[in-house]
Amino acid sequence: MGIDLTYAPAPESRSIVDLKASYGLFIDGAFVDGHGSGFKTISPATEEVLAEVAEADAADVDAAVKAARRAYSRVWSRMPGSERAKYLYRIARIIQERGRELAVLETLDNGKPIKESRDVDIPVVAAHFFYYAGWADKLGHAGYGEDPQPLGVAGQIIPWNFPLLMLAWKIAPALACGNTVVLKPAETTPLTALLFAEICQQADLPPGVVNIVTGAGETGEALVAHPDIDKVAFTGSTAVGKAIARSIAGTDKKATLELGGKAANIVFDDAPLDQAVEGIVNGIFFNQGHVCCAGSRLLVQESIADDLLERLKRRMSTLRLGDPLDKNTDIGAINSAEQLARIRELSEIGESEGAERWSPACELPSQGFWFPPTLFTGVTQAHRIAREEVFGPVLSVLTFRTPSEAIEKANNTPYGLSAGVWTEKGSRILHVAGALKAGVVWANTFNKFDPTSPFGGFKESGYGREGGRQGLAAYLKTEQGGR
């Protein structure tokens, strides 16, 4: 009795990060001023201004594309794959060496818990560079012809939810295949991409192979519209993905689009319930639910729904929300005021449409952007919280009676990025996994990522794959024969 079992604060020190007052664009191997008006990037956990960041206008984007084109034609596309590989290995090693610094900076700028940036984001970033480094001199064995050729200059636009990880997914395969890149990080999370630019300098990567242009939507539009890029790689919302597909219509630009999702996480009555609860929590509360493949629709078999929900609520009550730099934090800050407003709006709509809202007792910090882990029961397929991507820690719970009903409900969405299946019955796993229209199916697990494993969607979740051998196709001329 009377023993204090609360956690003492265990903050990770931010002294390892050398934050500059302002950051320029990274073009042709050097940091330069942008011609846009510039913007501030803040810590979403405290609203503290972290740095001033340059904004690239169309002229800056043009300079970056020109630098990338020069580097492509004079250096990178001519370099033997074995030499490109060594640059990528170098980068991978530096990322490992500076892993703590990158993790802290990511957490500062993004608001995600340090345990996730430290144990998931940054290690997978390094692994991604290691994996694709090894492909650079083996492309003739990848199944795309004996001597597959790069596309040229890739324009790449990434989101704010996994800033450095999405950068790695874009840059590592592009460079391995012999392309050069102009990458635009998200407006709210530019800092790790700029630290990555320093890493490129540290690795003596030839100037122009990687160019980083910071800015908002207009910078991205200028990049997509630039006549001298050969490839657009985008991760972000389905609405923007469609706009990009329209914008490049009639051109020779290739595209890979990794867009939104509304994944079903299906729990059958014979599932290992405690494991399933962990998977559900990981599926929707990992990274504050800022995950395109988040398991945001829980489909639970009716006969076990009460039992499962009781266990889920109990587990949710133990989640620790707060300082992202604290090593014991499970749920960090929502990335921006704008995203917080979107989550609030959809949650209010969920209530007004008749679903029942529940959150554990959870004290929110007074500064910054926060939203408690939330679940909605009594959700129907017509509810907006069951159809639209919330991109926050909000779980919609629906029930089903038969496997075929589960499959039908799971597929009843324009999205098709991921799905989860929980059951101890092997043949049911394989049957359901086969019937789900989703690019990634996690069975008795969720939200697992690996550089060797292709990731990408069906339907309106986009096209193309990132990761694995299939991820190379996004950056190679694959058309080998006639039609």
Partner: protein, 290 residues
């Protein structure tokens, strides 16, 4: 003695395994390569296109659910029936493309051989483009191709049989179902092909063939929210129309095979892209040992 009066024919559409007339009631005159009347063909309307999409969607589940071996058998059987109907195809090719008998036979040979080639891919593509992934953890991890769904195919305008087979076979062999708009000026080989399909083991709805104008029908297919992909080769060289169609296709992020500047050489060996452009890689994870 007076010459016998021909029985002139008005061909029909092929939708859901049946041969309806166009719901619009329109047909158009098909002339041979020298401009002489050959027959009337149905002029497909947007309603016909929508009906065809419904038929294709209805057929998708069962066709994509068949075993790969079975789809291979079904496609090979189509090649067998084409062999049976050589004279009809040769005549259609001569009329449509103005070929000599020898060249018409060569085009038919190539079309049948192409079909046989694709039939064999049914149970091999998964092995060639799918694989296990050695992830850094205790997980079984497998990537396999799955059909994209309903594919709208604008068949080439010039190569009325080899070109047609070269765009239809790679789409359906992986389990997709298709809505095809045939060559406008040269629809007869497509009509004969539809008659072959109707007497083959290809289930109704897997291939739906519309004769008519791509410029008229394609915008409805490109914008249709229940079509998952579109092959624009039939509007090769028509840059403006192709761009419009690609823009419309973005509404539900259809997979688009763009229109080339000119119709390709269909005698060249096909690339795997003809199939892989209309499949989706699915990756399944499962823990091992826990």
């Amino acid at each position: 003695m007076a010459a016998r009066i021909d029985v002139r024919k008005t061909y029909k559409l092929y939708i859901g395994g049946a041969f309806p007339r166009s719901e619009s009631g329109y047909s158009y005159i098909v002339n041979d390569a020298k401009g002489r009347f050959v027959a009337n063909a149905a002029l497909a309307s947007r309603k016909d296109a929508r009906d065809a999409v419904v038929a294709a969607r209805k057929a998708f589940g069962s066709w994509s659910g068949r075993t790969a071996y079975n789809r291979a058998q079904v496609l090979y059987r189509v090649a067998e029936i084409m062999e049976d109907r050589r004279p009809q195809f040769v005549q259609a090719l001569q009329q449509s493309e103005g070929l000599t008998t020898a060249r018409a036979n060569a085009a038919l040979d190539a079309a049948i051989d192409r079909l046989v080639w694709y039939a064999g891919w049914a149970d091999k593509l998964t092995q060639v483009v799918g694989n296990a992934n050695p992830v850094a953890g205790p997980f079984f991890n497998l990537s396999t191709p799955e059909p994209t769904g309903v594919v709208a195919v604008l068949a080439p305008q010039e190569s009325s049989l080899l070109g047609l087979v070269s765009v239809v076979a790679p789409a359906i062999v992986t389990g997709n179902t298709v809505v095809v708009v045939s060559s406008f000026d040269r629809p007869l080989p497509a009509v004969t092909f539809a008659e072959v399909l109707a007497t083959s083991d290809v289930p109704g709805g897997v291939v739906n063939l519309l004769t008519g104008s791509a410029a008229t029908i394609a915008p409805w297919l490109a914008a249709h929210m229940d079509v998952n992909a579109i092959d624009l080769v039939g509007v090769a060289g028509e840059q403006e129309l192709a761009t419009e169609l690609e823009v419309a296709a973005a509404d539900n992020l259809k997979r688009v095979r763009r229109a080339p500047v000119a119709e390709p050489d269909w005698t060249a060996s096909p690339s795997l892209d003809t199939m892989t452009d209309f499949v989706e890689i699915k990756t399944v994870w499962h823990p091992m040992g826990v």
